[in-house]
Symmetry: C2
Subunit: 348 residues, 2 copies
DNA sequence: TCCAGAAATGGAAGCGTTTACAGACTGCAG
DNA sequence: CTGCAGTCTGTAAACGCTTCCATTTCTGGA
């Protein structure tokens, strides 16, 4: 009961194992009657094929690995959600590798878990892999898709962080701000995580292009959480005299932290302080946060779809001599500039 | 390269397949020299055992399924993080089933994915399973652990939601509040999700025990997010006259939504309005939120440890006739009442 | 030196499927 | 009536490991 094998089904249906297998997996060349018989017997016995046996025999795993640096931050949990939904709909399993910030875990995931030939493909989120790491992954002949991180040699889905950060900064500049602070991400959080640097570069580029100096004391970093940004924004805003008139935060959560800090000082947003974020966090609405909306969930879903297509098209079983996977494509995911009311002209 | 089989390793090491297998999996009765030889050859060839083959042969999957209703809400992502860390450390994979609120997905996960004999065990978070569903799962002879949800017949890890909700309410009552509102969870969000009802029952019990009527218009429901609670707290606080003096929210995120709403109305917390939450969300600190701290991450880690112990102790391969899994234990996870400064005596 | 017992080894039988292959059966054109 | 393409079926060979069991090689005490 519950442990019936295909043999039991075959016996019960009065068919051979092969026919039952074909019938249940929807293959051609099975008479309607046999198919019916097999299905009925399988139902009665509660038969579910053993995935290991089936994978071993067919070379297909129906399992995709997802590597994320964290699961708490908005961006990552959104991506996971998108990937998960698409995979589940396709009958695929999702194996989650929450690498976190511990380097040894990163190492074991990359050098052990991912290589166990148990995954049809790997999706890596915001993970910067070295060339040799990518080679290693491609060596097991599995497609890789990167989201939000540059993966040389693998397909990627990303937004143009540098340009968007520039756009956000230019929005503030366009309103007349010149005293602009930037909340960036912690570098030490995860050595892999290049994104904060890219966004900051966009900020700095825009400032320089407009002829404004970037004041180092106005570039502070937090851990991408509301609470983290709150603390550092308080420091930023503490000096009543030389206070910035606008803040560009590298994520919506950090922008919200800044808004909360501003409120503590009695600063009105946007009259006294403009704040712009980046992400499209649902909570931004509550704060009327101006931001750049990126559909993280959609990015995850797209990544999964891309992989599924590759898998459907691709060779059944990675052959010993096959050249590494298909052409790497780099897609830019569409974003939307969302002007709400956390930004305005600077105070007189 | 990367696709070497154990046979290749054996050839290279000049040993038999059997010895190599024993050597690499750390079994006894292998000479130091052979072990060394095998390891060296495996390294050189980049050999990683095929998980399917190894699972098929050994009956061990090194893979635990985790079923969650969502991944966005604090509680769930914290649990996932806890489970993930513990499993990764033990060399286990985590297969994530993000069921969401779509019933058909719940169905396919429960009746298809989980039964594929690919999981050594299942952890279900806040999932209320029917008896037949539990039977079905136990029928495949895999241990199940429930977190935060009652699973008759399976081991569970939970907090005493009813009592804690009572405690939270009593804290407000003890301060002198009588006009207490409650923000509960959406029932329609997920039919499985009984927790909001339990917490509400605790609230109502405390109110009644203190001889105070529960005003139906002061029991409102939101979706467990800050933004959702914000909206409904605004409605709650809109009526200047008959306004509650305290709010007990069924989660910290919702309590924070209430605090934000209060600020919009110029209400000071805690002078004009006391707010108490429940969870121990990191963000609560920023708001000085009084709450009941439950270590969701720890609960996840504990669940994983319990399972791993069961698996280590348990029979290697579920036999056809074996009685369903070990004795179901029900553990209450410790919590901590965290008084910060969002609660005070009611205004005069 | 010999021998019992322990330690190490290799052969081979699974594990539960999928699928190539070949055989058996249909129906239909020649 | 024969032959042939087509459809359906079953046999058996993978898939790549683990592990039982029999065999060989070491031990160290007598």
């Amino acid at each position: 009961m519950g442990l019936a094998g295909i043999k039991d089904v075959a016996d019960r249906a009065g068919l051979s194992i092969a026919t039952v297998s074909r019938a249940l997996s929807g293959k051609a060349n099975v008479s309607a009657k046999s198919r019916q018989l097999a299905k009925a017997a399988a139902d009665e016995l509660g038969f579910v094929p053993s995935y290991h046996a089936s994978s071993l025999a067919s070379g297909r795993n129906h399992n995709v690995g997802l590597v994320v640096p964290s699961i708490h931050r908005w961006y990552f949990s959104s991506v996971v959600e998108g990937v998960s939904g698409t995979l589940l709909d396709a009958g695929y399993d999702l194996t989650l590798y929450n690498v976190g910030d511990r380097p040894e875990r990163r190492h074991s995931v990359l050098n052990d878990f991912l290589l166990r030939k148990r995954l049809d493909a790997v999706i890596a989120v915001a993970l910067v892999l070295s060339e040799s790491e990518i080679k290693q992954l491609l060596a097991i002949h599995r497609p890789i898709v990167g989201i939000g991180g540059a993966l040389a040699g693998a397909s990627t889905i990303r937004i143009d962080d540098a340009r968007l950060a520039r756009t956000a900064t230019e929005h503030l500049l366009g309103l007349g701000h010149t005293r602009i602070a930037h909340i960036t991400g912690d570098a030490e959080l995860n050595q892999d995580f290049k994104l904060p640097g890219i966004r900051r570069a966009g900020f700095e580029a825009a400032m320089q292009a407009a002829g404004h100096a970037v004041r180092p004391e106005w570039v502070v970093s937090a851990d991408f959480t509301i609470q983290g940004a709150y603390v550092c924004a308080r420091n930023l805003l503490a000096a009543a005299a030389g206070r910035p008139t606008a803040v560009f935060a590298a994520s919506d959560e950090m922008a919200i932290g800044a808004i909360l800090a501003a409120r503590d000082f009695g600063l009105r947003v946007p009259q006294d302080l403009s704040v712009i974020g980046m992400d499209g966090h649902e909570l931004g609405e509550v704060f009327g946060l101006t931001t750049i909306n990126q559909d993280a969930r959609g990015q995850g879903a797209l990544a999964a779809r891309v992989l599924l297509e590759t898998l459907d098209a691709g060779a059944k079983r990675p052959a010993k001599g096959t050249p590494p996977s298909a052409a790497a494509t780099d897609r830019e995911y569409p974003t939307e500039f969302l002007v709400r009311n956390s930004t305005a002209v600077p105070p007189a």
